[in-house]
Symmetry: D4
Subunit: 229 residues, 8 copies
């Protein structure tokens, strides 16, 4: 393990500056429950070691505006996905293309978070939105794009069936993302989560509800496997 020189102790946070060397990408800032001041300080700590791009997830627009002021044009904010990025995307150097599919229009914010994170980490992304299973012809029309992807991120709320159908069509790993889209017995995404965990298609794994970031990050790791041969 890296020595503790790699930890920048800010009191309220211990920034893990060794993570980039150890794991290939620096710490990602979880924006919820942090003050703007804390977010800026952590970004500056990362930036002091040149760890760009640096990402902030679950960042409200109000906070984002203040962070942007602190870093000038170097900080980009994507409102739908509530994602902030300090510095530019890495150049696209993955093994193949990551397909990000979602069931309905209301799932787009989560799907965008996954797509933007994957792009920041150096991947080519193809977006396939509104291909939910209740109109299966829409999904089948995308079969070619799905089958040529090296990883598929499948985002869906309500009954969460999209990853099961995709999982039966492709050879690539499928990362399922349940969303909180729905009402009543969707229980804030639990129905979709359970459906995905119980998928009868092999090759499917699941991340937390609305965790577009986690899916995009993992998809990137898988898409960069070649380097570990």
């Amino acid at each position: 393990m890296k020595s503790s020189d790699d930890i920048d102790n800010l009191g309220f946070a211990r920034v893990d500056l060794g993570r980039k060397a150890r794991q290939g990408f620096g710490e990602v800032v979880y924006g919820e429950g942090k003050t703007v001041g804390q977010i800026i300080a952590i970004l500056k700590s990362l930036d002091s070691r040149g760890q760009r791009p640096a990402l902030v997830t679950r960042l409200d627009a109000d906070k984002a505006a203040i962070v942007a002021d602190a870093f000038g044009g170097d900080f980009a904010y994507f409102a739908d996905a509530r994602l902030g990025r300090l510095g530019e995307n890495r150049p696209s150097d993955g093994l193949g293309v990551i397909a990000v599919a979602c069931g309905g229009t209301s799932d787009i914010p989560v799907a965008e978070e996954a797509a933007l994170v994957a792009e920041a980490l150096g991947n080519k992304v193809v977006r396939l939105f509104d291909v939910g299973v209740a109109g299966i012809n829409r999904l089948l029309a995308c079969e070619g794009e799905l089958r040529s992807a090296s990883v598929v991120v499948a985002v869906a709320g309500m009954e969460g069936a999209l990853p099961s159908v995709i999982g039966g069509l492709v050879e690539a790993p499928v990362i399922a993302v349940p969303t909180s889209v729905g009402y009543g017995a969707s229980f804030g995404g639990v129905a979709a989560l359970l459906a995905m965990l119980n998928s009868c298609a092999a090759g499917v794994s699941v991340v937390n509800i609305d965790n577009g970031f986690g899916a995009g990050f993992l998809a990137s790791r898988i898409n960069h496997m070649g380097g570990r041969k």
Copy 2:
């Protein structure tokens, strides 16, 4: 409402002999938690008014053997579906065909219960087994049979996605039956139940977990709508 002459009070049960006149089919006996003696007495009460066929659901094989002894060849038992039937099926007189589809081989007992009940009540049934969504081509190969049905019963465990896909293919009402097939986070059928309640396909409604009887009964009612024009 019918007078109380139509109630045969056996002490442990009040047989509703007026139900057939009022609702088109006599009482169905829920076999679980009843003794063999109670089941036979209720069947005899129904039989005394000529209410055949009379059905017993959730009937164990041991009890069924004793009931069969009491009624001779008139009592048929279907072990998979745990269903007993006193008397013959009604002649097939519904508007059209009822399709009973299920996701996997393990769902067959529930699907059979639905199919047998529908047949007992005077319907033609087509069985489409093992057409789960993780091999969507198997389902699409049945599109013709599904689209020509007047009602579809869709039975599935695990992620419970089958009704959503069928619901997007057909014009007929779809009755979704979650099954307790699965393990872990399927929670005895809860995952499938929630998925079905949250189906993004319109025209889908849901019955209780493993309630093949309820689905077959309701399908029959819908398939006999013509009489109420």
Copy 3:
């Protein structure tokens, strides 16, 4: 299956223009989580093929006002039911009458959504409001109207017992709609949902909590069964 020419890809949505031909009624727009711009664009896509009436569910009053501006007098909004409709109701051409019953005054918004959707799709509807089981005489006073209906939609919150009682009175299929009316251990409609799924009356099926749309849509499908004889 229809060719992909029937899909109008707007980027954020793939409008399934073939659904009307395939399933008898065009796509219905789920308003929650969509921007006004997205809703208007989807309605225009449907309208370009003459698919009127087109419905928008779960539409807030603020968004509805903007949509109404875009379509002039052709767009009607029903505030209680949060339902929008582009174009006129279909002429009433179902087999019979759909009865929409609800347990209490607080359930009316959901019941109205069911009733309005059924009317938009070409059905005659009779409304029976505030007939909850704790004053059973109120319900029994409506027995005639219930028994002459071809489909019954039974809407209730709290203990959700209405469909069970109605299910024992009528021969028609009963579609049960749990509502989120209640407090404490009603858990936002879960108590009513579970009660309905466990109904001991045969012929009852259930839709999602507060899903008046789904119940009205399904009731219409059942009430138009004659065409599939």
Copy 4:
């Protein structure tokens, strides 16, 4: 409070011999999780103070046989209700009659436990079994008996709607007992429990699932109110 002389400390149990004086009836033995030896010792402790009848709930038949041997003919066992009683019923001295109603035949064991406990405690009981709401005419045929009772115990599984309907018919307090009868989404009685807690009828309260004892005991307390005027 009574002094600690009233506690008989057996090591594994501290028998509260003062309870009869303090609360009108001695300790009732919860049979589950106790050995036969423990049960007999507690009964002997109660008997040493003449606290008959003494009740044992949730007592298996095997244990009951051994207990009966220890006390000879003084110990009665009711297999359905899994209830044991040392000594005779109190003479019937309550204010009025307690009606014990249940929804279906499978609920009878719980209803019997309530009825037998009430009888042991000195109440007249009328049994109204199999009057579930899906055949409302069966219940309405008993309206007279229900309305003349001073307390009603309403026992039901599945959707648990019986107390709501009865609660709207009578002036007496209604004690609702959910049972674990059902399957799937009944969740071992949770569906019925929630329905009863959310009853829209006033005057209804609820005890634990399958707690026939608690209902019978409470009904007796209420039926003996006169003494506290």
Copy 5:
């Protein structure tokens, strides 16, 4: 059953004017989810038959002000308990005194609802507030008042242990009311509700979370038992 002349159909509500004759007290209006106009109309319907006092539960202060305008000085509003009352309390004519105890200061609104309802229905009430079990000496100091009550209403949030301790002290029936007071794993009152349902004290029954009204109403019914001898 009373004839349907006793039902006043307002369209959005069917006022059950026969309830007072049938059950001793007129309909109580559940204020949540009703408009002010609906509430006033229902009160006027009840008032037209002289059914005073008439109660409205879960009534917001804003709505209450408008209702009060409509009825002048005849309408009283109790802000803590969110209860409205048209007309005066009945004269106190119950068998004995109803004790309303609560665990902590935060439970007072629910306890007050119970107490005010009981007073409206003609009962004497003694209030014992902030006697939670974590300072058991506070509760024991009230033992005299508890033991002399004819019914006890025990209101508690958090761990909900109050009814169990009281249930072991008194001979009177105990009505337990869980409240939503608490945080974290109290789950809005579920912890208290479960504790109360599992009370090892006999003679305890439970109403819905925060249902002070139901407890007060039921306590009154029990306290008026003498009339049914």
Copy 6:
């Protein structure tokens, strides 16, 4: 038990003035659900017996400002922890040091509540913030401070793994505090709570979600054990 002279009955509260003598520290005021007037009155009651410091938990900033006005400079408010304190901290007189560790920056408010309460009660506290297990080197860098503590409070949201890892490093008792930090399937802290209850490390116990107060209070009790030798 202390006599009831030690209870100050304010009507809405019965202040347990004997608690300090009986248990070593006076009542702590739970601020949520109490009015400012009630809080001030309780503090004055405690203050009349010289029971300083007196703590108020879950106190909003608005209420705190009014309370501070009533007591002048004697009342301190800690906004992050939502904690108020009347009077000074006790002098530090515990056996050793209490370590308060938390997983992430967002957990700090709960950790601070624990630390401030422990300090008020006379303990030395060392704070170890942002040492979550996903960067295990950050935690291991603190091993010395953890091992020299006499009690450890481990605060974490999300997967709640921190107490398990610490529990395997130290000999001291570990008090685990789950926080509501997280989203989706964290269910407001339930995921962390369950993880902590299932810790495979011995020597770990758990308090309610976000209950920093309870952890700090208990840590102080343990750290003052010497006096009971």
Copy 7:
């Protein structure tokens, strides 16, 4: 951290032989899910370093008999608590006495597990069984023993109220252990667990359902605090 020489890798298990030096007591073997052969091998590994006593929890009687054969008279088995112990109890050297209280006779197996573990680890234990809150006089009669204990373990099923009442009586830390004793809405101990987590008494913390071992172990740690001054 200790070097990896302290790990004895048996393939199926890596015995942490450094734990005794690091944390004061060696590994405790969780017996469930392990074969007899695995259990014996782990015990031998611990024994090879003289780490006696060594404990095995959740050990069935059948397995225990075989383990006892392997170690001769050195292995003791306690059937009620399902606990095995290799070697003798440590001499009693804690600061004070640990009181283990339980609510009812059915909770004794869990309470015994706690008591036996505490005794094995070198503590004096006083057992206070069957002191549940529904007969509060039984508990109050033990107030002296409770108040003189240095740590209290409070074990209870059903409503789980015991720790709250004890927590208000004593100054010592209270470790609450919910048990799975109960039925229906006790949900296998969940009701008791939630009650304990929501205890309004300060100084209470909670371990997993039926985790007598964890409570006894933690109580011992606290009772040996003196060594860390």
Copy 8:
């Protein structure tokens, strides 16, 4: 999509013979809920196309013996993992090594299922058993093996913290498998499942409880990514 010639309809099952061509590996048979006859028939169907190895999961030993008889020495059965395999493992041709780690000895059956499936599909596997986080030095001693793996499968029950710690150490994708090992509030693996879904380590995804098969299958897919460059 492949034509329907690739579907072998056995009535109870439609074997998807095209899956191997489409997705790289043939159908895997879910053994639970299938008869031995059904399992053999499906294996023969797969074998008729030379699709070896063919796997059967969740296969009981009794059924396995009969299946082995049908195929002679070609069928291997792994009792711990309840896995059957017809034919030999594929030659090891993945990009790198798959590490399968588990928390405790009781998790080994699930871990073995993952390892055996990965080996069958042509991967090199390293097993790291009993490295749970409560003895973190055991895990850190394996850091080298973990960091050199191309994919890590992390299997754990109870608090399920293992994947979070590993996720912070390695660059490879981590597949988390919750197991049902535990008791009480582990709820059959739910505690571990929730912990894993809420992992604060990036790069972690989750499969169903006890789903060793799914994890091994997915790990193999990821480890064969090179072919899709």
